[in-house]
Subunit: 409 residues, 4 copies
Amino acid sequence: MTDTLIKVDLNQPAPENEQIHNRWHPDIPMACWVKPGDDFILETYDWTGGAIKNDDDASDVRDVDLSTVHYLSGPVGVQGAEPGDLLVVELLDIGAKQDSLWGFNGFFSKNNGGGFLTDYFPDAQKSIWDFEGMFTKSRHIPGVRFAGLIHPGLIGCLPDPKLLSAWNEREQALIDTNPTRVPPLANPPFAATAHAGKASGTLRDKIAAEGARTVPPREHGGNCDIKDLSRGSKIFFPVYVDGAGLSVGDLHFSQGDGEITFCGAIEMAGWVHMKVEVIKGGMAKYGIKNPIFKPSPIVPTYNNYLIFEGISVDDNGKQAYLDVNLAYQQACLNAIEYLKKFGYSGAQGYSLLGSAPVQGHISGVVDIPNACATLWLPTDIFEFDINPSAAGPTRFLDGSINMPIAYDK
Amino acid sequence: MTDTLIKVDLNQPAPENEQIHNRWHPDIPMACWVKPGDDFILETYDWTGGAIKNDDDASDVRDVDLSTVHYLSGPVGVQGAEPGDLLVVELLDIGAKQDSLWGFNGFFSKNNGGGFLTDYFPDAQKSIWDFEGMFTKSRHIPGVRFAGLIHPGLIGCLPDPKLLSAWNEREQALIDTNPTRVPPLANPPFAATAHAGKASGTLRDKIAAEGARTVPPREHGGNCDIKDLSRGSKIFFPVYVDGAGLSVGDLHFSQGDGEITFCGAIEMAGWVHMKVEVIKGGMAKYGIKNPIFKPSPIVPTYNNYLIFEGISVDDNGKQAYLDVNLAYQQACLNAIEYLKKFGYSGAQGYSLLGSAPVQGHISGVVDIPNACATLWLPTDIFEFDINPSAAGPTRFLDGSINMPIAYDK
Amino acid sequence: MTDTLIKVDLNQPAPENEQIHNRWHPDIPMACWVKPGDDFILETYDWTGGAIKNDDDASDVRDVDLSTVHYLSGPVGVQGAEPGDLLVVELLDIGAKQDSLWGFNGFFSKNNGGGFLTDYFPDAQKSIWDFEGMFTKSRHIPGVRFAGLIHPGLIGCLPDPKLLSAWNEREQALIDTNPTRVPPLANPPFAATAHAGKASGTLRDKIAAEGARTVPPREHGGNCDIKDLSRGSKIFFPVYVDGAGLSVGDLHFSQGDGEITFCGAIEMAGWVHMKVEVIKGGMAKYGIKNPIFKPSPIVPTYNNYLIFEGISVDDNGKQAYLDVNLAYQQACLNAIEYLKKFGYSGAQGYSLLGSAPVQGHISGVVDIPNACATLWLPTDIFEFDINPSAAGPTRFLDGSINMPIAYDK
Amino acid sequence: MTDTLIKVDLNQPAPENEQIHNRWHPDIPMACWVKPGDDFILETYDWTGGAIKNDDDASDVRDVDLSTVHYLSGPVGVQGAEPGDLLVVELLDIGAKQDSLWGFNGFFSKNNGGGFLTDYFPDAQKSIWDFEGMFTKSRHIPGVRFAGLIHPGLIGCLPDPKLLSAWNEREQALIDTNPTRVPPLANPPFAATAHAGKASGTLRDKIAAEGARTVPPREHGGNCDIKDLSRGSKIFFPVYVDGAGLSVGDLHFSQGDGEITFCGAIEMAGWVHMKVEVIKGGMAKYGIKNPIFKPSPIVPTYNNYLIFEGISVDDNGKQAYLDVNLAYQQACLNAIEYLKKFGYSGAQGYSLLGSAPVQGHISGVVDIPNACATLWLPTDIFEFDINPSAAGPTRFLDGSINMPIAYDK
């Protein structure tokens, strides 16, 4: 039986678990140690540490304190790993905790984090997804059911002091360009809600004061939210500190490219079974700055797609220059508009694009002035025929079911 | 035998062929007419009309006149198609012209169009690709060979006057923000090199004066450069004018997501066998603004990938806000750096990313302040093992072969 | 948390567990009951009930008592299911028991069951496979590692008395054509080792006397050993008795088409999470005699194959008439011969073909007098390059490791 | 432009074309010569040399003279190829002749060749398939349309005298076991209709007298009818004579595993673009008896299947011993019965199973006494939903269209 090196009791508050942390800092003490070649299991909280409930009330999404996230399991020290090495992590398997066979998707209030389409969906909403073995469906979004492309939204190694400084400095410089923006441009260190694992006293205070927030992906990987980093994949991480310090969390049962809904994919508490190896000096050998990875040989196959194009012109007809973000936003809006013709609400469509194994491709990025992005909607996840035909669409949903909403107070 | 409605003689200059045009305008006369249900073949020039030669000299890429592109075959009038309809186009097959079994890829000089990585590769370079049936390889980039994901870079219907005006106005407004930028932000109508098909006299002059340039993708589709719009796919185009006016060109033997090299994919002259149907009133029925499409059931399968991450921090460590373009640029640069370890030059790596069936995914777009993009490099296109290992990379190439370069005069 | 309706303690002998049985008979009492729409978990023994050990001694394979197999979990009664219905079973997930993360493959002695190539490998041998999350590898067959295509070798519903009689009669008629054959043509009921679940006394004796053996697949499904009946698939079973009486067992971590090694695939103890529905009168509605099924959307993807042909001419050059069995046997032998060139022993090659996700296709079956069968060997399961090249094969294995063998006493 | 080394004029009788032959014999003169590394095109007749017409009358299928088939293009001599080498043939592309964009499928009369289900469909019938680029559909079998998995049914090298003798001897020995069987067990040499290419006079007579018939697949490959030997695949053929002598013909636009209808797949006239290389001494290096091959990276993807099981018990309830042929026959009949529920005639179902990209798997071959075979029917080739549901099947076809039939005279 494989050893579970980090255990999570969902009834215990995440900040009280000493093998959990929510900031990036080189001084966070290792939660445990392993050797190259070892395989082991880490349990994880959901990214919010249990703030979102399996109910029909979105006020928890509205009121979430984003300074507390993400609750990560680790850091795991790997004997012999040194700065400049590559830590090879194979995700042998990932699953939900047996006492928590559900997940949540939602979008934050525009005043508290927002999401990719926050200008169109400014209020907090959520959908709950039940897991049936390898499949999921939602009581808030009828007519879809699909297999999970299970993955950690967040995984990476501890930064060294130099890298940490670079992060904090460049992000503060960005914040300084518009410090009052809502939502903010970035989040600086914030001591009050920092959880530094086993650290206590002045060490804890130092980590809390300096520790980088966990939301952005960075050179070490971190919160990449790459749906294809799924169980069965193999990742090559840069190592910056002795022992590497691998942490993981923010498990997703499924997600669409972009994680456009931000809160988030289909978020869940669970466990990761992984194996580690080390490539000595691998960063220089392969010219590695950011992690690279090999995808899994075992992922859900949904090969029938309906593909939506978007270009970098906004809703007011204003022309942007090769802006892939805008192009993808337009592709998303085009897909939502299409889904409405079959009876979905806009919010349901938006949530679905954030949850299902949707692909987002950078299709054209040089044809001035318009970028072109495409959103690939898998048609086999629907329990009815979503394809266009000469007869026109049939409304399969009567609108009686919608996603819970919680307006700002 | 299927009728070839538009023929192309590669020895005849494209501007002399009356079934070819290089601007978008509602008044361009139909080159031919078909009925719904018809299938037919259109031959095409390469996008430059033959400006680039199958040789080892990149000066043709350096000196290309971008005001002349793209040379399109059409417009094809479809009887009964009216504004508001959807024109359903099935790409039954696509191929190279038998007397031109090769294609080109390259990047323009930064002073004449540039490319996605023009700051890193500012000079004109090209690679020539030979076709062997369904496969291609290049004498300028050894060690790779792959099956073509053949597709038209450009396909769409004629705009109506209102849409045309909107295009010209919004693009001019963008140009006006920085009219002297090199490369330019967008290209306004340019009469001197306009080719309006069968139009002559004042009609030709009107089209030349007003006709939108063909480089950007727009609401009608156009130059989307979507590699997955491949033979076997079915596209649903908005119709704006009576008869629809479908044009096609810019055939690619293969391309990576983004067409990052701009000049371009693996560009070729060829033919398209297509079939058309009409969905009456389809734009309103399905809420269509941009084209949607179903991908082909028959595409090359390269399922083993090595995936590179990029985040929206530039080479100087400057932090951008959720900028997918920058994140994808960084992912591309990371991949090129990796390829260098196996012996490729930077230019060869860049050209390869623009030519091979590389995927570009918008992986994370909400984790402030960093967007995350991933570049998926198929490993089976290489004739050697490109995967990372504990032993480190082997240099398979000795650097004796490189891509032709032509410095600015 | 999903209910586990049948529990298995691997330390308890299978014949003592009242929710287990090893014969097919309409009178076996239901082990438990569920309703249409329910999902639930059944734990299972390995098919031999623990007779094969995780060690390096093949005497257990040699000495196995085949009259005791297969130990099945069930029957599960489904409320409302009646003869003529279809029982729809969705395999929501399948896994190994956490205290038994390994499996076995082997071939029986020719004198005790044999296997598909028993004339070439007449002695008992085995290989042990360790599970690492979704992957497996064997200390007895170096150089391969692959993801599991996990599935039950055996699943089906109870027969009614008429069907049971037909089975016993037709199989006895076959036996009677050559009653002393080694291995036998079929196995008749055998009371001594019958396990009838909860039944006792005269009922148990009746079941033991009449109960059909579990080895062959039959109209109800049963021991089909279809590797693609994997987790995520949905099966439509004929119902013959009130309550259907669904039983399952003989879990495989992986198997090649044909299960040519007989003992067997990669055999394991584990659990099945399933969900049941009923289609009333479905047998007549769809003309169903044998089960039909939809494969899973989530299976390991090994798309690179090396394919071996075989024709129906035996090793002595004798011509058979359109004999697919012989053709597949020849294809297997051809593959084994090829594998030997890379250093594998014949037994290792044989075991690998029975264990890995090998495909066996009926390629041509009308071209008199030769059938043609093909064996598809996935090349990505090997840790080295198994493809042919002008340079010839490299011996990656030195022969120091082989599979345990136990000669007949 | 690639050289076309063998040209076929469909208006010229195949026996008059000196680069065509219809027997296997070492003395057939090479039709042309190439060098290793060359790529070239060979045109081909359909396998019957034009005997079957694009009309609605099946009498041509009934009356076909099977002693005339197959008309093959070649042999192509490869300089330097010697006995014991492997000839590596890459199928760069394959297509239909532009003046013959259609194909035929059918089953022979039981009295003239029959087919896999000839006891159920004893009369000659045919269906005609029209090609639309990469797709095909039939006016005789409504409701299906699919992309072609184009391949040669027959390809291989000339035998040497020893191998030829072995073929003729073993096949005659089989015939001798039941010389009057209808259909026959095998076909011996038959001089009257032999076509020996360029050979004339006594050489021609020798070849005609001794030449092996082309119907069966044999050690050299030959008429394997492997649907996956499609364009893009790479085949490694044993070489028996100096120059190898590669011949090809019997092109199929599409075929199901087994080619169960015998007449045949979707048969067509066309062309093959191929490239040859030689592996010196490759037969011994790799232990090759029959050809091996690598499948194409570019094949139609139909991943949604409905799978039918069959076991080796015949319609009368008689038990056979591990008979895969019978099991596959039963799986085919099960599928046909299912298709009837949607309105197809039995003949249409049978023809569809022979024409569409159906898979036939050897699923279980050791579970005495029943073999289990599975037939994989791709559901996306249907224009309506063919899946089972609680509502039962809908009859999409009204039976007004059926396949032409020609009863024996």
